[in-house]
Amino acid sequence: MEVIALLVLVGIVALLRSKLQRDGGPDVGWSANGGPTEQATSASAAAIERGSERAVARALGRVESRRLAGGFSFSLGITFSLLIVVLFGIVWAADFEERWENIWLNAPIYAYPLVGMTIVGVHAAVTRERRDGTAELFASCPVTPAVRTVGHLRTAWVPVVAVVAFLALFGLASISQSSAFGSIPLRTAGDVLAALTLAVGATFLGVAVGRWAPWWPAPIVAIVLVAVVSSRISGIGEPGHWSQRRQLSTFPRYPDYDPVFAIRPVWWHLAWLVALCAATAVVALLHDRRDRLVTTAGGITVVALLVTGVGTSRPLDENEAELVASMVAHPERHQDCIERVEGSFCTYDGFEDLGRMFADELEPVLAGLPAAAPDGIVMRQLFDDRLEELDPEVRDRLPSTAQLTGADVNLGYSSHPEVFDASRISVGLWAVGLPAWARPDASVQVIAGEARGVIALWIAARGLAPEDAADLASAHPDPNAADPPTAFVLGMAWPEPCEVGPAPVAWARQDLAAARALLALPEPEVRAGIDEDWAVLTDPDTTTAELMDRFGLPSVGPIDELQPEVWECTY
């Protein structure tokens, strides 16, 4: 917050300074340093060498670059970027509980504020002569509008450098603050380059809009149009059904499920963005120059747009579809496993760090499993989203959901603390013979009043401090909900499904109270009791009331009646 306040303060000071500078200063005599006649006769024009069009464009580019970098709009874009660094790289960085690749594939979206303000700043620079009434004077000069356009196009390096600096700052901040894991694959460079390409594209778009629509609202309209069109492209196809045509968007394009199951055409998409930039530059130049060079460049960019557009949005080829289908249907063929105590933690390439985190978290739970519990638990990452969200070519190669290879426990793809809580509960549920995870749209199995549900929670809490253990065996109804929580909500110990996936089972609140009572007893006492009566206590017919009797605990009262329902993320 201090940093934000400092930034706001700096902004106010800059604005005040700018306002003060608008006030006129004292007049200066015509001949401040000797009379004009004297000067005129003593000074003669230096022999000025006329520069080539390229040299002039370069000189204009230098001047315009300085002005863009120091302009209000661009400074505002920089301020937005710094805010992103502060908010996402520092304040909220701990919420990044996923692979570094997943964070960096959003690089273009982080750059959007700067990119947007670049469009505004460049447009202002291009339309300056119209706004300030210098158009007539400039028109009398030998440098053509087309060369001036090239000069403006050459300022693209300014936002590129700014985005590089911003991403570097963001990276440094988030490395020290975030909970992200995993290595960064080479294809991430494509996402970062996409952000830089957007910066170039913003410059070119600002120039093009400035040339063709030199009115002040035009850049705002352009930004909104690009945002709307990109957003629409990002949503092409039926809701919940992935379409490769979404890759044509300038937004980061990836499905709702983890990108490990997506063949992202990163380099094709980068080429598509480059082609878009080239086309925008040609559109800008066409305003004032329609010779063979520019029209040929226009033709080439049209071809490039077609080729890269097809390349980036083409359906998956056979090999790619086979690979993804195999990853979904046969994860064991694509995963490496870490063996710990009595369990295997199996993850896809890039998730090794997450596998180790799970192993460390669940080691006390596995070590604390009752002797009578099953052996050899397998915990792996599974495709746990809807199959219809996959590419059509992949879906065609998959069996039905019911036939998919499963695992004892689904590890998921995030290092969010609630995911570890869910995996603890999953291990407990698996140990007592209950479903440990659920696919989307599946109704929960109601285990209200069943002793094994209580035992599962006791197992899940192994190794936790007493207060954390009690919290694990508690429901967390939304305190801001408009309606009072239902019996279903009051018995739901499964963490937030938007973070951890759908709940496999539903307890009654009396079960949670029983679990907390059991957790409050000395562990050796409970362990001995569970070991002794494992078969009975994990029998579906054994009730929570019988469990309480068995351990001499007071009754938790009549069990709520629950109906099965789907308990999953709704946004």
């Binding site: 007049d27 004009p36 005129a40 230096a46 009434g133």
Partner: protein
């Protein structure tokens, strides 16, 4: 056309809708300073804009510095040798004077930074702005802004200088300085100044053209223009109703122009007298 002829226009015509701005003007400009006089709407600015290659003519022929402005390469050649101060030049207020003139210098194809900056400093020094050249234009007075406009026109010592009311907004001393500057720096080039200031013309120009309703009504030396009013300017103690124009002078007497009654105190006419007489006479004849 001799070697000193920079501008040749024949039958130059320009129309804006129903308004005939230039009506078949024939014109030749040579080295030296030429003043262009005329009331508002006479076509002065239109003529200068055509000569500055920023406005296309509808009919007639123009050759500037030996090149045809209709032709792309000819236009380029003209612009390379042209300095122009539009009627309302406009400035980028957030630029410093140096940056603005530097920007125009680039637009005049001066790509090499070092020599360009030297040239920018030279022209700013010519107009006496070197002490404030790094101040933003928004901080400069109206007169200093005018001088920035003049400075940019002098970049590269052009062969053809076109000034559209360059002394508007300048105080008397600044106008004097401008005359001095132009007298010194315009040597060897062709300069056309559109102005309402007849005393500027009298002091500065070797030649004066009076434009009225898109036509040239006088073309000669300032002295010749003044002489057209010889015997038609007189002073008296009271306003004479027969005079075409009359006004009270600083000495408290009434100066008249028109057909003098017998016995009045005739005085030597000025360029302004002649100009007023000329434009008034034409207006009268049109009214009749």
């Amino acid at each position: 056309m001799n070697s000193s002829t920079s501008v040749v226009a024949t039958g130059l015509t320009k129309r804006f809708g129903a308004t005939l701005a230039l009506d078949g003007i024939d014109l030749e400009l040579h080295r030296g300073v030429t003043g262009l006089l005329g009331p508002n709407g006479a076509g002065k600015t239109t003529l200068l804009r055509i000569l500055a290659t920023v406005l296309a003519r509808d009919a007639g022929e123009v050759r500037l510095l030996g090149a045809d402005p209709r032709d792309g390469s000819g236009r380029l050649e003209i612009r390379r040798r042209l300095g122009y101060v539009p009627q309302e030049p406009g400035f980028h207020a957030s630029f410093s004077a140096f940056d603005f003139v530097d920007y125009v210098a680039i637009l005049k194809e001066m790509a090499d930074r070092r020599s360009r900056h030297e040239e920018v400093r030279r022209v700013l020094s010519l107009v006496g702005l070197e002490a404030v050249m790094h101040k933003r234009i928004r901080q400069l007075s109206g007169g200093m802004r005018r001088r920035v406009g003049i400075a940019q026109a002098l970049l590269g010592s052009p062969e053809l200088l076109l000034f559209d009311e360059p002394t508007a907004g300048l105080d008397p001393e600044q106008r004097l300085r401008f005359r001095e500057l132009l007298g010194a720096s315009a040597d060897g080039c062709t300069t056309l100044i559109s102005t309402h200031q007849t005393d500027d013309v009298a002091a500065l120009c070797q030649r004066v053209i009076v434009l009225l309703d898109g036509s040239v009504r006088f073309d000669g030396t300032p002295r010749a223009l003044a002489e057209t009013a010889t015997g038609r300017v007189w002073l008296s103690s009271e306003r004479d109703p027969s005079a075409r124009l009359a006004w009270i002078t600083a000495e408290g007497r009434v100066r008249h122009i028109g057909e003098p009654p017998a016995g009045v105190d005739l005085v030597e006419p000025t360029v302004e007298d002649a100009y007023l007489l000329l434009t008034g006479a034409i207006a009268d004849s049109q009214a009749a």
